[in-house]
Symmetry: C2
Subunit: 335 residues, 2 copies
DNA sequence: CCCAAAATGGCAAACGTTTTCAACAAAAAA
DNA sequence: TTTTTTGTTGAAAACGTTTGCCATTTTGGG
């Protein structure tokens, strides 16, 4: 790769000013006389000068780049979040280094080390758990971190999310009130705190409120894939289950299609409420009722919060935990 | 932001060697005596030294970062491609700067300028068209570019894709052969060459082969969204259309649901073949027959090709245009 | 007109690496 | 032994910015 042809030095020479002045012009520093500024800008345009962001990063210790960890880019839930993140990031002139973690602790650690080596100004973490080692690394690196759309085993990190517990409770209550007694909780891996803690608690709270005994046979743990819940459909029906609150849309669609393909009518014989309100819930037939989350906003707000933190508003006092409102979309999978 | 505490210099001092030697150790340069190497590695571990990638980028003129332009991260088609890209990228130790272009020429230009300023080693472009200005910029920047999963108005750029024209032709033939005479082509914006050139040509070729006259009333242009084709469903049926080849899965699902919601039976009264074989085609009911594309592979191969180009294998002679095989998945939307 | 204060701009030292070149040492060949 | 060759290492110059500090100019009040 050949040397960059036109540098700040070239411009300085052509404009008969110093590099410092060019730098000031480029960065909008006010301490430069309008005439000089114009002169420099003309040269910049003429030479088509483009500042080298790497050199700038080294000198200024700011890369205007943030790292984004996403479990899987093809997961619509996280993709929606990522869209919000990206929009706000580009609004604030930040770039996004995006990497899939595949929910693999090993990989996540590697990825973050990489991001830190690249001197990102901040990190947005999406995912279901954060290895201790990673947490330590992040803390000692002193890089601002915001957790978006997920709950992890750490309460010191800034987080943007909804109240998963309450949302789960409300959904479960709705199913219980539709005169169903056998309401199951179909969930992704329980090793993720968002499932095992937040959602399960909400589910239990709803049962308690309606004086229904908790039956752990009704908590159906899956690996979170479409296929896994599709396969569970038949068993659930045979077990007499009449409704299910489902922890993610993949699972909900799988369950729905599994039921339909087995001749079970939704919502007549079985009701479903899902959790994430992604496109899946709208394109399935019947459509799936769901807790609604402002996905885009969660991403957007997380990114905005991150910019604050990166600007040094450490604001340890400020609320670091933003809980957005959720809602409910009544669709065809519930009566 | 405070100064980096432990640098290559610190390590060098502690290990009583020069920076050069530390650099060699870190980069696996073989010209270091094993004993020295060990000594340096010990210090690195003890001090927990992490090389600064920005400084490295400045000195070596390689950032091990590639820019990826994606129309919209939430579009499953491109998300699948992106997954392949990311996997291979991380295999080759590259990071991905991912940005949504929203298919907006202005924005794309801005984004690419940004990427170039950040000194990315290469760019993967996904999208439906490339503004002339952008093309010029890319060429003069001398940065390797690979176009993935799309066709654009330029034949000099390396591209990885399938044969959209033939795929469209085969799909249309299938529909024609199922004894339908009124086969429509429901497409996204015709200003995109992949639609107006490749797919439309394929559609026409199929008609010609079956001696069916081309009727431009049967080419239904939409804005590419779910809703747009959903809204077209009724009109199509009223116009006597019996089947449709659809240019993307969003549209196909929209059309399908529009038909179903209007009481039209698929596939009995209307057959559909879609183009991209994303999840949508599998979770809809009925499921949608589709051309199949190795989406992940397209992304993966594009990235691999890019690494070649970045390694300087300019190989102007080599095939710069990789055409992968496509297939067909028979599902419930066709007989 | 003079002088202090404000505005402007230049110098040069960072920033943390890689890399070229030369030096030196050790091993091999003569 | 002497000369080559090969293998290891270090010194220091890039890489292209930003920025602190100082010098010079402008400005405006008296």
């Amino acid at each position: 790769m050949e040397k960059q042809s036109v540098t700040i030095y070239t411009v300085a020479r052509e404009a008969r000013v110093s590099m410092a002045t060019v730098s000031r012009v480029v960065n909008g520093n006010p301490n430069v006389k309008p005439a000089t500024r114009q002169k420099v800008m003309d040269v910049i345009k003429r030479l088509n000068y483009r500042p080298n962001a790497v050199a700038r990063g080294l000198a200024s210790k700011k890369t205007t780049t943030v790292g984004v960890i996403i479990p899987r880019i093809t997961n619509p839930y996280f993709a929606d979040l990522a869209l919000g993140i990206d929009d706000i990031a580009s609004m604030y002139k930040y770039n996004i280094i995006l990497t899939n973690s595949d929910n693999d602790d090993e990989k996540v650690l590697k990825v973050v080390r990489n991001l830190l080596a690249k001197q990102v100004d901040g990190i947005i973490f999406m995912g279901y758990s954060m290895p201790d080692e990673l947490r330590d690394e992040l803390k000692s690196s002193n890089t601002p971190v915001v957790v978006a759309g997920s709950v992890i085993n750490d309460d010191e990190l800034a987080t943007v999310r909804i109240d998963y517990e309450n949302a789960a409770k409300e959904a479960t209550l709705k199913l219980l009130d539709n005169a169903k007694d056998h309401v199951a909780f179909v969930t992704g891996p329980l090793k993720y705190v968002i499932n095992s803690n937040d959602r399960l608690s909400g589910y239990k709270a709803a049962l308690a409120e309606r004086h229904v005994d908790f039956d752990d046979q009704l908590v159906v743990e899956t690996d979170g894939t479409y296929q896994s819940s599709y396969d569970q459909a038949k068993k659930l029906v045979e077990a007499g289950v009449k409704a299910a609150y489902v922890s993610n849309d993949n699972l909900a669609v799988g369950l729905l299609n599994g039921l339909t393909d087995n001749g079970v009518k939704v919502p007549d014989d079985f009701e479903i409420i899902s959790s994430n309100d992604t496109t899946y819930t709208k394109i399935s037939r019947p459509t799936i009722s769901s807790i609604t989350q402002p996905l885009y906003d969660i991403g957007a707000i997380a990114m905005r919060l991150l910019t604050k933190l990166m600007d040094g508003n450490d604001s340890t006092t400020d609320e670091q935990d933003v809980i957005l409102d959720h809602g409910f979309a009544q669709r065809q999978s519930t009566r």
